[in-house]
Subunit: 187 residues, 2 copies
Amino acid sequence: MSALKDKILETATDLFHTRGINSTGVDTIVAVAGTTKMTLYKYFASKEDLILEVLKKSQLDFQTWLNDKLNSTSKKPNDKIQQLFDYVEEWVNSPAFIGVGFIKASAEFPNEENPIHQLSSQQSREFRQFISKLARDASIKDADGLALQLSLLFEGAVQAEQMKRGSGAIKYAKKAAKILIDGAIKS
Amino acid sequence: MSALKDKILETATDLFHTRGINSTGVDTIVAVAGTTKMTLYKYFASKEDLILEVLKKSQLDFQTWLNDKLNSTSKKPNDKIQQLFDYVEEWVNSPAFIGVGFIKASAEFPNEENPIHQLSSQQSREFRQFISKLARDASIKDADGLALQLSLLFEGAVQAEQMKRGSGAIKYAKKAAKILIDGAIKS
DNA sequence: AAATAGGTATACTGACCTGTATATATCATA
DNA sequence: TATGATATATACAGGTCAGTATACCTATTT
Protein backbone atom coordinates (compact mmCIF):
# COMPACT_ATOMS: atom_id res chain seq x y z
CA MET A 1 0.00 0.00 0.00
CA SER A 2 1.22 3.48 -0.84
CA ALA A 3 2.47 5.67 1.99
CA LEU A 4 0.18 8.46 0.86
CA LYS A 5 -2.89 6.24 0.87
CA ASP A 6 -2.03 5.26 4.43
CA LYS A 7 -1.58 8.88 5.42
CA ILE A 8 -4.98 9.78 3.97
CA LEU A 9 -6.66 6.90 5.79
CA GLU A 10 -5.02 7.86 9.06
CA THR A 11 -5.90 11.53 8.70
CA ALA A 12 -9.49 10.77 7.75
CA THR A 13 -9.88 8.43 10.73
CA ASP A 14 -8.72 11.14 13.07
CA LEU A 15 -10.83 13.92 11.56
CA PHE A 16 -13.97 11.78 11.35
CA HIS A 17 -13.75 11.17 15.07
CA THR A 18 -12.86 14.65 16.20
CA ARG A 19 -15.17 16.60 13.88
CA GLY A 20 -17.72 14.06 12.72
CA ILE A 21 -17.92 12.30 9.38
CA ASN A 22 -20.45 14.48 7.59
CA SER A 23 -18.81 17.62 8.91
CA THR A 24 -15.43 16.69 7.48
CA GLY A 25 -14.92 17.61 3.83
CA VAL A 26 -12.44 15.97 1.54
CA ASP A 27 -10.71 19.33 1.10
CA THR A 28 -9.96 19.36 4.82
CA ILE A 29 -8.71 15.78 4.75
CA VAL A 30 -6.23 16.36 1.93
CA ALA A 31 -5.09 19.66 3.43
CA VAL A 32 -4.29 18.05 6.79
CA ALA A 33 -2.76 14.98 5.12
CA GLY A 34 -0.57 17.28 3.05
CA THR A 35 -1.71 16.13 -0.38
CA THR A 36 -4.34 16.99 -2.97
CA LYS A 37 -7.78 15.84 -4.00
CA MET A 38 -6.41 14.30 -7.19
CA THR A 39 -4.34 11.90 -5.14
CA LEU A 40 -7.22 11.05 -2.80
CA TYR A 41 -9.46 10.20 -5.74
CA LYS A 42 -6.71 8.07 -7.25
CA TYR A 43 -6.89 5.76 -4.23
CA PHE A 44 -10.56 6.07 -3.29
CA ALA A 45 -13.47 6.01 -5.71
CA SER A 46 -15.53 8.39 -3.59
CA LYS A 47 -15.87 9.83 -0.10
CA GLU A 48 -18.22 6.98 0.74
CA ASP A 49 -15.54 4.53 -0.34
CA LEU A 50 -13.03 6.30 1.90
CA ILE A 51 -15.42 6.14 4.87
CA LEU A 52 -15.93 2.41 4.33
CA GLU A 53 -12.18 1.78 4.19
CA VAL A 54 -11.61 3.85 7.32
CA LEU A 55 -14.23 1.79 9.17
CA LYS A 56 -12.74 -1.49 7.98
CA LYS A 57 -9.20 -0.56 8.94
CA SER A 58 -10.20 0.78 12.37
CA GLN A 59 -12.09 -2.36 13.27
CA LEU A 60 -9.36 -4.64 11.95
CA ASP A 61 -6.71 -2.78 13.96
CA PHE A 62 -8.72 -2.98 17.16
CA GLN A 63 -9.66 -6.63 16.76
CA THR A 64 -6.06 -7.57 15.98
CA TRP A 65 -4.74 -5.66 18.98
CA LEU A 66 -7.35 -7.19 21.30
CA ASN A 67 -6.79 -10.71 20.02
CA ASP A 68 -3.03 -10.42 20.48
CA LYS A 69 -3.50 -9.15 24.02
CA LEU A 70 -5.87 -11.99 24.91
CA ASN A 71 -3.50 -14.60 23.54
CA SER A 72 -0.40 -13.05 25.09
CA THR A 73 -1.24 -13.69 28.73
CA SER A 74 -3.25 -16.84 29.14
CA LYS A 75 -4.59 -19.58 26.95
CA LYS A 76 -7.30 -20.61 29.42
CA PRO A 77 -10.80 -19.73 28.13
CA ASN A 78 -12.04 -18.67 31.55
CA ASP A 79 -9.16 -16.23 31.94
CA LYS A 80 -9.73 -14.79 28.52
CA ILE A 81 -13.32 -13.70 29.02
CA GLN A 82 -12.47 -12.35 32.46
CA GLN A 83 -9.64 -10.30 31.01
CA LEU A 84 -11.67 -8.92 28.12
CA PHE A 85 -12.68 -5.73 29.89
CA ASP A 86 -9.21 -5.27 31.36
CA TYR A 87 -7.91 -4.84 27.84
CA VAL A 88 -10.88 -2.80 26.75
CA GLU A 89 -10.09 -0.48 29.64
CA GLU A 90 -6.45 -0.31 28.64
CA TRP A 91 -7.49 0.54 25.11
CA VAL A 92 -10.06 3.17 26.08
CA ASN A 93 -7.66 4.86 28.48
CA SER A 94 -4.79 4.95 26.00
CA PRO A 95 -4.05 8.38 24.54
CA ALA A 96 -4.58 7.00 21.05
CA PHE A 97 -8.22 6.18 21.78
CA ILE A 98 -10.59 8.25 19.72
CA GLY A 99 -13.75 6.14 19.78
CA VAL A 100 -15.36 3.29 17.96
CA GLY A 101 -16.01 3.85 14.28
CA PHE A 102 -19.11 1.76 13.82
CA ILE A 103 -20.92 3.44 16.71
CA LYS A 104 -20.44 6.92 15.32
CA ALA A 105 -21.03 5.89 11.73
CA SER A 106 -24.35 4.22 12.48
CA ALA A 107 -25.46 7.39 14.26
CA GLU A 108 -24.51 9.61 11.35
CA PHE A 109 -25.99 7.27 8.74
CA PRO A 110 -29.22 5.98 10.29
CA ASN A 111 -30.77 4.77 7.06
CA GLU A 112 -30.60 0.97 7.11
CA GLU A 113 -30.14 0.82 3.36
CA ASN A 114 -27.03 2.97 3.44
CA PRO A 115 -23.85 0.94 2.81
CA ILE A 116 -22.06 2.73 5.65
CA HIS A 117 -24.84 1.88 8.07
CA GLN A 118 -24.82 -1.71 6.87
CA LEU A 119 -21.10 -2.10 7.41
CA SER A 120 -21.37 -0.54 10.87
CA SER A 121 -24.17 -2.89 11.78
CA GLN A 122 -22.16 -5.86 10.54
CA GLN A 123 -19.08 -4.85 12.53
CA SER A 124 -21.13 -4.49 15.68
CA ARG A 125 -22.54 -7.97 15.08
CA GLU A 126 -19.09 -9.42 14.44
CA PHE A 127 -17.72 -7.97 17.65
CA ARG A 128 -20.64 -9.49 19.56
CA GLN A 129 -19.92 -12.84 17.94
CA PHE A 130 -16.31 -12.52 18.98
CA ILE A 131 -17.37 -12.11 22.61
CA SER A 132 -19.84 -14.95 22.18
CA LYS A 133 -17.03 -17.26 21.09
CA LEU A 134 -15.03 -16.32 24.18
CA ALA A 135 -18.08 -17.17 26.30
CA ARG A 136 -18.68 -20.47 24.53
CA ASP A 137 -15.03 -21.46 24.96
CA ALA A 138 -15.47 -20.77 28.67
CA SER A 139 -18.40 -23.23 28.66
CA ILE A 140 -20.96 -20.59 29.44
CA LYS A 141 -24.45 -21.79 28.64
CA ASP A 142 -26.20 -18.71 27.31
CA ALA A 143 -23.12 -17.44 25.53
CA ASP A 144 -25.05 -15.29 23.09
CA GLY A 145 -27.04 -13.68 25.88
CA LEU A 146 -23.95 -12.83 27.90
CA ALA A 147 -22.17 -11.58 24.79
CA LEU A 148 -25.04 -9.24 24.05
CA GLN A 149 -25.00 -7.89 27.59
CA LEU A 150 -21.24 -7.35 27.54
CA SER A 151 -21.44 -5.63 24.18
CA LEU A 152 -24.09 -3.29 25.59
CA LEU A 153 -21.74 -2.38 28.42
CA PHE A 154 -18.91 -1.94 25.92
CA GLU A 155 -20.88 0.31 23.59
CA GLY A 156 -22.42 2.23 26.45
CA ALA A 157 -19.02 2.85 28.04
CA VAL A 158 -17.43 3.96 24.79
CA GLN A 159 -20.39 6.26 24.20
CA ALA A 160 -20.04 7.74 27.69
CA GLU A 161 -16.31 8.13 27.31
CA GLN A 162 -16.79 9.99 24.05
CA MET A 163 -19.38 12.26 25.60
CA LYS A 164 -16.92 13.17 28.31
CA ARG A 165 -13.32 12.03 28.42
CA GLY A 166 -12.23 10.65 31.77
CA SER A 167 -15.78 9.86 32.80
CA GLY A 168 -14.65 6.68 34.51
CA ALA A 169 -17.47 4.82 32.82
CA ILE A 170 -15.21 1.99 31.76
CA LYS A 171 -14.25 1.28 35.37
CA TYR A 172 -17.85 0.61 36.32
CA ALA A 173 -18.51 -1.24 33.08
CA LYS A 174 -15.68 -3.58 34.08
CA LYS A 175 -17.22 -4.19 37.49
CA ALA A 176 -20.62 -4.85 35.92
CA ALA A 177 -19.03 -7.22 33.40
CA LYS A 178 -17.42 -9.23 36.19
CA ILE A 179 -20.74 -9.63 37.98
CA LEU A 180 -22.51 -10.71 34.79
CA ILE A 181 -19.76 -13.15 33.79
CA ASP A 182 -19.56 -14.72 37.26
CA GLY A 183 -23.34 -15.08 37.28
CA ALA A 184 -23.32 -16.72 33.86
CA ILE A 185 -20.56 -19.16 34.78
CA LYS A 186 -22.34 -20.42 37.90
CA SER A 187 -25.73 -20.97 36.29
CA MET B 1 -47.15 27.81 21.74
CA SER B 2 -48.13 28.16 18.11
CA ALA B 3 -49.40 25.07 16.33
CA LEU B 4 -46.94 25.64 13.52
CA LYS B 5 -43.98 25.85 15.87
CA ASP B 6 -45.06 22.53 17.33
CA LYS B 7 -45.40 21.01 13.89
CA ILE B 8 -41.91 22.16 12.93
CA LEU B 9 -40.44 20.75 16.16
CA GLU B 10 -42.20 17.45 15.64
CA THR B 11 -41.15 17.16 12.00
CA ALA B 12 -37.55 18.09 12.78
CA THR B 13 -37.41 15.52 15.58
CA ASP B 14 -38.56 12.82 13.21
CA LEU B 15 -36.27 13.78 10.33
CA PHE B 16 -33.23 14.20 12.56
CA HIS B 17 -33.64 10.63 13.75
CA THR B 18 -34.44 9.00 10.44
CA ARG B 19 -31.95 10.89 8.26
CA GLY B 20 -29.46 12.34 10.71
CA ILE B 21 -29.17 15.92 11.94
CA ASN B 22 -26.46 17.22 9.62
CA SER B 23 -28.04 15.49 6.65
CA THR B 24 -31.38 17.19 7.17
CA GLY B 25 -31.67 20.65 5.67
CA VAL B 26 -34.13 23.28 6.82
CA ASP B 27 -35.69 23.25 3.35
CA THR B 28 -36.60 19.61 3.87
CA ILE B 29 -38.00 20.29 7.33
CA VAL B 30 -40.32 23.07 6.20
CA ALA B 31 -41.39 21.12 3.11
CA VAL B 32 -42.41 18.11 5.20
CA ALA B 33 -43.97 20.28 7.88
CA GLY B 34 -45.96 22.07 5.19
CA THR B 35 -44.69 25.56 5.84
CA THR B 36 -41.92 27.89 4.73
CA LYS B 37 -38.48 28.95 5.86
CA MET B 38 -39.74 32.38 6.84
CA THR B 39 -42.02 30.83 9.43
CA LEU B 40 -39.30 28.54 10.74
CA TYR B 41 -36.94 31.46 11.22
CA LYS B 42 -39.69 33.40 12.98
CA TYR B 43 -39.78 30.78 15.72
CA PHE B 44 -36.15 29.68 15.75
CA ALA B 45 -33.15 31.96 15.56
CA SER B 46 -31.08 29.40 13.64
CA LYS B 47 -30.85 25.73 12.78
CA GLU B 48 -28.68 25.25 15.84
CA ASP B 49 -31.40 26.81 17.96
CA LEU B 50 -33.93 24.42 16.44
CA ILE B 51 -31.70 21.43 17.19
CA LEU B 52 -31.32 22.55 20.80
CA GLU B 53 -35.07 22.92 21.21
CA VAL B 54 -35.71 19.53 19.64
CA LEU B 55 -33.27 17.95 22.10
CA LYS B 56 -34.84 19.73 25.07
CA LYS B 57 -38.38 18.76 24.12
CA SER B 58 -37.49 15.12 23.41
CA GLN B 59 -35.77 14.67 26.74
CA LEU B 60 -38.54 16.47 28.64
CA ASP B 61 -41.20 14.30 27.00
CA PHE B 62 -39.36 11.08 27.81
CA GLN B 63 -38.56 12.04 31.38
CA THR B 64 -42.15 13.11 32.00
CA TRP B 65 -43.54 9.90 30.55
CA LEU B 66 -41.11 7.76 32.55
CA ASN B 67 -41.77 9.61 35.78
CA ASP B 68 -45.52 9.27 35.38
CA LYS B 69 -45.18 5.56 34.73
CA LEU B 70 -42.97 5.05 37.78
CA ASN B 71 -45.39 6.93 40.03
CA SER B 72 -48.50 5.28 38.60
CA THR B 73 -47.85 1.75 39.86
CA SER B 74 -46.01 1.80 43.13
CA LYS B 75 -44.68 4.35 45.54
CA LYS B 76 -42.15 1.99 47.08
CA PRO B 77 -38.55 2.96 46.19
CA ASN B 78 -37.45 -0.65 45.77
CA ASP B 79 -40.23 -1.32 43.28
CA LYS B 80 -39.42 1.80 41.31
CA ILE B 81 -35.83 0.97 40.52
CA GLN B 82 -36.78 -2.61 39.71
CA GLN B 83 -39.45 -1.40 37.31
CA LEU B 84 -37.23 1.15 35.58
CA PHE B 85 -36.16 -1.16 32.77
CA ASP B 86 -39.69 -2.54 32.38
CA TYR B 87 -40.80 0.90 31.33
CA VAL B 88 -37.68 1.53 29.28
CA GLU B 89 -38.51 -1.67 27.43
CA GLU B 90 -42.10 -0.56 26.91
CA TRP B 91 -40.85 2.74 25.57
CA VAL B 92 -38.21 1.25 23.26
CA ASN B 93 -40.65 -1.29 21.86
CA SER B 94 -43.39 1.25 21.23
CA PRO B 95 -43.93 2.16 17.56
CA ALA B 96 -43.26 5.80 18.38
CA PHE B 97 -39.70 5.07 19.50
CA ILE B 98 -37.15 6.66 17.24
CA GLY B 99 -34.09 6.81 19.47
CA VAL B 100 -32.51 9.01 22.09
CA GLY B 101 -31.68 12.51 20.97
CA PHE B 102 -28.64 13.17 23.10
CA ILE B 103 -26.90 9.98 22.00
CA LYS B 104 -27.17 10.79 18.33
CA ALA B 105 -26.44 14.48 18.79
CA SER B 106 -23.24 13.88 20.72
CA ALA B 107 -22.08 11.56 17.93
CA GLU B 108 -22.79 14.12 15.23
CA PHE B 109 -21.29 17.00 17.20
CA PRO B 110 -18.20 15.54 18.88
CA ASN B 111 -16.55 18.87 19.63
CA GLU B 112 -16.87 19.46 23.36
CA GLU B 113 -17.16 23.21 22.89
CA ASN B 114 -20.18 22.90 20.62
CA PRO B 115 -23.42 23.97 22.38
CA ILE B 116 -25.26 20.96 20.99
CA HIS B 117 -22.63 18.60 22.35
CA GLN B 118 -22.73 20.36 25.70
CA LEU B 119 -26.51 20.05 25.97
CA SER B 120 -26.33 16.37 25.01
CA SER B 121 -23.68 15.74 27.61
CA GLN B 122 -25.74 17.53 30.23
CA GLN B 123 -28.88 15.54 29.41
CA SER B 124 -26.97 12.28 29.66
CA ARG B 125 -25.67 13.39 33.06
CA GLU B 126 -29.15 14.39 34.22
CA PHE B 127 -30.62 11.05 33.25
CA ARG B 128 -27.87 9.31 35.19
CA GLN B 129 -28.64 11.48 38.21
CA PHE B 130 -32.29 10.56 37.89
CA ILE B 131 -31.40 6.87 38.12
CA SER B 132 -29.04 7.64 40.97
CA LYS B 133 -31.88 9.20 42.91
CA LEU B 134 -33.99 6.10 42.38
CA ALA B 135 -31.10 4.03 43.72
CA ARG B 136 -30.56 6.29 46.71
CA ASP B 137 -34.25 6.17 47.58
CA ALA B 138 -33.97 2.39 47.53
CA SER B 139 -31.17 2.67 50.08
CA ILE B 140 -28.51 1.36 47.74
CA LYS B 141 -25.04 2.19 48.99
CA ASP B 142 -23.10 2.93 45.80
CA ALA B 143 -26.04 4.63 44.14
CA ASP B 144 -23.89 6.60 41.71
CA GLY B 145 -21.98 3.50 40.66
CA LEU B 146 -25.11 1.49 40.00
CA ALA B 147 -26.69 4.43 38.18
CA LEU B 148 -23.69 4.66 35.91
CA GLN B 149 -23.85 0.95 35.15
CA LEU B 150 -27.56 1.06 34.42
CA SER B 151 -27.12 4.08 32.19
CA LEU B 152 -24.45 2.21 30.24
CA LEU B 153 -26.90 -0.63 29.69
CA PHE B 154 -29.58 1.86 28.71
CA GLU B 155 -27.41 3.72 26.22
CA GLY B 156 -25.94 0.52 24.85
CA ALA B 157 -29.37 -1.01 24.35
CA VAL B 158 -30.75 2.07 22.63
CA GLN B 159 -27.67 2.16 20.43
CA ALA B 160 -28.12 -1.51 19.52
CA GLU B 161 -31.81 -1.04 18.87
CA GLN B 162 -31.09 1.84 16.55
CA MET B 163 -28.50 -0.15 14.69
CA LYS B 164 -31.06 -2.87 14.10
CA ARG B 165 -34.70 -2.65 15.06
CA GLY B 166 -36.02 -5.70 16.90
CA SER B 167 -32.55 -6.71 18.05
CA GLY B 168 -33.89 -7.86 21.40
CA ALA B 169 -31.08 -5.99 23.09
CA ILE B 170 -33.40 -4.38 25.60
CA LYS B 171 -34.58 -7.79 26.83
CA TYR B 172 -31.06 -8.77 27.82
CA ALA B 173 -30.32 -5.30 29.14
CA LYS B 174 -33.29 -5.76 31.48
CA LYS B 175 -31.95 -9.10 32.71
CA ALA B 176 -28.51 -7.59 33.28
CA ALA B 177 -30.06 -4.65 35.12
CA LYS B 178 -31.90 -6.98 37.48
CA ILE B 179 -28.70 -8.84 38.32
CA LEU B 180 -26.81 -5.61 38.96
CA ILE B 181 -29.62 -4.11 41.06
CA ASP B 182 -30.04 -7.25 43.16
CA GLY B 183 -26.30 -7.36 43.70
CA ALA B 184 -26.21 -3.74 44.76
CA ILE B 185 -29.12 -4.13 47.20
CA LYS B 186 -27.57 -7.08 49.02
CA SER B 187 -24.13 -5.61 49.48
C1' DA C 1 17.93 11.88 -23.75
C1' DA C 2 13.32 10.23 -23.83
C1' DA C 3 9.46 8.02 -22.01
C1' DT C 4 6.74 6.68 -18.17
C1' DA C 5 4.53 7.03 -13.67
C1' DG C 6 3.19 9.30 -9.46
C1' DG C 7 2.17 13.40 -7.41
C1' DT C 8 1.05 18.52 -7.51
C1' DA C 9 -1.40 22.95 -8.44
C1' DT C 10 -5.34 25.16 -9.57
C1' DA C 11 -9.52 26.23 -11.40
C1' DC C 12 -14.01 24.87 -12.30
C1' DT C 13 -18.99 22.73 -12.32
C1' DG C 14 -23.21 21.91 -10.44
C1' DA C 15 -25.48 20.87 -6.46
C1' DC C 16 -26.78 21.93 -1.91
C1' DC C 17 -26.64 24.61 2.32
C1' DT C 18 -28.18 28.46 5.80
C1' DG C 19 -30.16 32.62 6.20
C1' DT C 20 -32.48 36.99 4.30
C1' DA C 21 -35.17 40.36 1.42
C1' DT C 22 -39.36 41.58 -0.70
C1' DA C 23 -43.88 41.36 -1.83
C1' DT C 24 -48.33 39.23 -1.19
C1' DA C 25 -52.20 36.77 0.95
C1' DT C 26 -55.24 35.54 4.84
C1' DC C 27 -57.93 36.47 8.84
C1' DA C 28 -59.39 38.04 13.30
C1' DT C 29 -60.57 42.08 15.69
C1' DA C 30 -61.62 46.92 16.44
C1' DT D 1 -64.35 48.48 6.46
C1' DA D 2 -59.84 49.17 8.17
C1' DT D 3 -55.87 47.62 10.78
C1' DG D 4 -52.36 44.62 12.28
C1' DA D 5 -50.58 40.24 12.95
C1' DT D 6 -49.45 35.87 10.88
C1' DA D 7 -48.24 33.06 7.17
C1' DT D 8 -46.94 32.38 2.27
C1' DA D 9 -44.38 32.57 -2.18
C1' DT D 10 -40.33 33.32 -4.34
C1' DA D 11 -36.02 34.78 -5.33
C1' DC D 12 -31.49 35.51 -3.96
C1' DA D 13 -26.74 36.04 -1.61
C1' DG D 14 -22.75 33.84 0.00
C1' DG D 15 -20.77 29.83 1.31
C1' DT D 16 -19.41 24.85 1.20
C1' DC D 17 -19.62 20.48 -0.74
C1' DA D 18 -18.03 16.34 -3.95
C1' DG D 19 -15.91 15.35 -7.85
C1' DT D 20 -13.44 16.47 -12.48
C1' DA D 21 -10.43 18.67 -16.08
C1' DT D 22 -6.15 20.44 -17.39
C1' DA D 23 -1.57 21.43 -17.06
C1' DC D 24 2.71 20.97 -14.70
C1' DC D 25 6.48 18.91 -12.00
C1' DT D 26 9.88 15.39 -10.74
C1' DA D 27 12.24 11.25 -10.53
C1' DT D 28 13.27 6.77 -12.07
C1' DT D 29 14.00 3.69 -15.76
C1' DT D 30 15.24 2.40 -20.38
